[in-house]
C-alpha cells in the first residue's frame, strides 16, 4: 500500500508532503499505516468535500492511496475533516514533518 499526502494552505502557505510505502516501512509502522487507512474508511470517502466558503488560512489536505489495483484520492478542507479521518491525518502530518521519504529499493 502506498500513501501520498500533501497539506497546503494555512497562513504560512507551505506545502508539506510525504509518501509512505508499506513495502519499505518497518513492519510495525506498515501495520499502523494500514490500520489508520482502514479506520479512516478511506475508500468509502467522497473524492472531495468542498467547503461552501473556505475559511481563511485553513489547511487543505490531499491523500492518495494505492492498494493493489485500487486507487483513491480524497481532498478536503481542514474545517470539514470527519473525526474518523483525524488519526490518519495526524500520523501523515507527523511523518511529513520528520521528513520521512519513500525508500526506493
Amino acid at each position: 500500500m502506498k500513501v501520498q499526502f500533501a497539506r497546503t494552505g494555512g497562513v504560512a502557505g507551505i506545502r508539506l508532503t510525504v509518501t509512505l510505502d508499506t513495502e519499505t516501512l518497518p513492519p510495525a509502522e506498515a501495520d499502523r499505516l494500514r490500520r489508520l487507512v482502514a479506520a479512516a474508511r478511506l475508500f468509502d470517502q467522497p473524492a472531495s468535500r468542498p467547503s461552501p466558503a473556505p475559511e481563511t488560512d485553513r489547511f487543505q489536505y490531499q491523500v492518495t492511496v494505492e492498494d493493489g489495483s485500487r486507487i483513491k484520492k480524497v481532498e478536503m478542507d481542514e474545517s470539514s475533516v470527519p473525526g474518523t479521518f483525524r488519526p490518519l491525518l495526524d500520523y501523515l502530518i507527523d511523518s511529513a514533518r520528520t521528513g520521512r521519504k519513500i525508500k526506493r529499493s
Binding site: 494555512g10 502557505g13 507551505i14 488560512d57
Partner: protein, 357 residues
C-alpha cells in the same frame, strides 16, 4: 433564534433555544452591564447559536445592544487547552492584568495594536466599524502550526517547536488574521485564485502596517517580512514571506523553497491552496511595497490609506489583480489629484509587477 421581545413559532415571546438556560433578555442585560468576564460570557452565549452564525443582521441588533464608546477596545482571550473546541476557557478580558502565559499577552497586545492602526490612522472602529469584540483563542490543537480567522474570532496554534514557534509571536500574523475580518465586512474577496490572493495580500499589507506602525518605522526602514520569528531555529529561512522580494523568505529541506512570485509573468497556476492564494499574493504584496517605497515616509499614511479606501469602497468579491490596480490608481487620483506624484507612484508600483494601468 427569536430575538428577545419577538414572538416565537408557537406564539411565545422571549423564546430561548434548547441549550440556553439564561433567557435572552437577561443575557442582554449582562452583556451591557456585567463585568468584563460576565459580558464576555453573555456575548458568547448569545452569539453561539447555529442559527445566528453568519446572520449579520441579527448580530448587528445584538451589537447595537452592547455598543461602547467609539475608540474603546473590547478584547477577550481564551485558552483552548490544546483541544479544538472554540472558543475555550476565558483567560483574559479587556483591562485585565497581564497573564503569566506569554501567548495570551501577545494575542491581547496584538489585537490592541491592530485596533489602534485601524482606529487611529483610518478611523475604523474595529473589524465591523461598530466596535466589534476582538476574540482570540490560544493553544488551539496539539502542535498546531497555524493561525486562522474563522469568521468570528482569531485562533492560534502553539506550533510544533521544530518548524514553527507559537503563532502569536509575530504581530503581523495577528494583524493578518484580523484583517481577514475587516475584508469579510468590506469587499469580501472570494478565497480562491486572484480574488483570494488579493484577500491574502490585503491581510499581509495591513498585518505588516500593524508592525510598522507599532515600531514607528519608515517604509525604507521596515523589513517587509511577514512572520519573522515564527520559523523555529534550525529552519533555513527568515520569515513566511517577503513583500519586498517575494520568493526569498525561506529555502529549507522540509518546508521547501518560498514559492511566491513577484511579477505577473511568474503567476503560479496551481490547484493547491485554493488556487495558490498564499502564493500569488506575492504579486500584489510587492506592488504595495514598490508604491510605499516610492512615496517615502511611513507606509501607513499614503500607501496604506489608498489601499484601505480601495478595500472599503471599491473592490468586489471577484476582483482580479488588474481590477484592484485600476481601482487603486483611481482612489489615488480621488485622494491626491490626477497626475499627482501619489498617483504616479501607485501606477509605477503596479507596473513593477507587470500590471499596467
Amino acid at each position: 433564534m427569536v430575538m428577545p421581545g419577538e414572538r416565537g413559532a408557537n406564539g411565545s415571546s422571549n423564546f430561548c433555544p434548547i441549550y440556553c438556560i439564561v433567557p435572552p433578555h437577561m443575557l442582554k442585560e449582562i452583556a451591557r452591564r456585567g463585568s468584563a468576564r460576565q459580558q464576555a460570557w453573555a456575548w458568547q452565549t448569545l452569539t453561539l447559536s447555529e442559527q445566528m452564525r453568519g446572520q449579520r443582521q441579527a448580530l448587528s441588533v445584538i451589537a447595537a445592544m452592547g455598543t461602547t464608546a467609539t475608540g474603546t477596545k473590547r478584547r477577550t482571550v481564551y485558552d483552548a487547552g490544546n483541544g479544538s473546541t472554540l472558543p475555550g476557557r476565558l483567560v483574559r478580558g479587556e483591562g485585565d492584568p497581564k497573564s503569566k502565559d506569554v501567548g495570551v499577552n501577545e494575542a491581547y497586545d496584538g489585537a490592541g495594536a491592530t485596533y489602534d492602526l485601524y482606529f487611529k490612522v483610518y478611523g475604523r472602529n474595529s473589524i465591523d466599524e461598530r466596535g466589534m469584540r476582538l476574540d482570540s483563542t490560544v493553544h488551539y490543537g496539539r502542535k498546531y502550526d497555524n493561525a486562522f480567522w474563522n469568521g468570528q474570532q482569531m485562533v492560534y496554534g502553539d506550533g510544533d517547536g521544530e518548524l514553527f514557534n507559537r503563532f502569536t509571536i509575530a504581530i503581523d500574523v495577528i494583524g493578518h488574521e484580523l484583517t481577514h475580518g475587516v475584508t469579510e465586512y468590506e469587499a469580501g474577496m472570494e478565497y480562491h485564485d486572484q480574488p483570494g490572493a488579493l484577500n491574502e495580500s490585503f491581510s499581509d499589507v495591513f498585518g505588516s502596517l500593524v508592525k510598522q506602525y507599532k515600531r514607528r518605522q519608515t517604509a525604507k526602514g521596515a523589513d517587509w517580512l511577514i512572520g519573522k520569528g515564527l520559523l523555529a531555529p534550525g529552519v533555513k529561512g527568515k520569515a513566511l514571506r517577503s513583500m519586498k522580494e517575494p520568493g526569498t523568505a525561506y529555502d529549507d529541506d522540509v518546508l521547501g523553497k518560498d514559492p511566491q512570485p513577484g511579477h505577473m509573468k511568474d503567476y503560479v497556476k496551481v490547484h493547491d491552496d485554493n488556487g495558490g492564494v498564499h502564493i500569488n499574493s506575492g504579486i500584489p504584496n510587492r506592488a504595495f511595497y514598490e508604491t510605499a517605497i516610492r512615496l517615502g515616509g511611513n507606509a501607513w499614511t499614503k500607501a496604506g490609506e489608498i489601499w484601505y479606501v480601495t478595500l472599503r469602497d471599491k473592490l468586489r468579491p471577484t476582483s482580479s489583480f488588474s481590477d484592484a490596480a485600476r481601482w487603486i490608481v483611481a482612489v489615488a487620483k480621488d485622494l491626491y489629484g490626477a497626475g499627482s506624484l501619489e498617483q504616479r507612484a501607485v501606477r509605477e508600483g503596479w507596473a513593477a509587477v507587470g500590471i499596467r494601468v
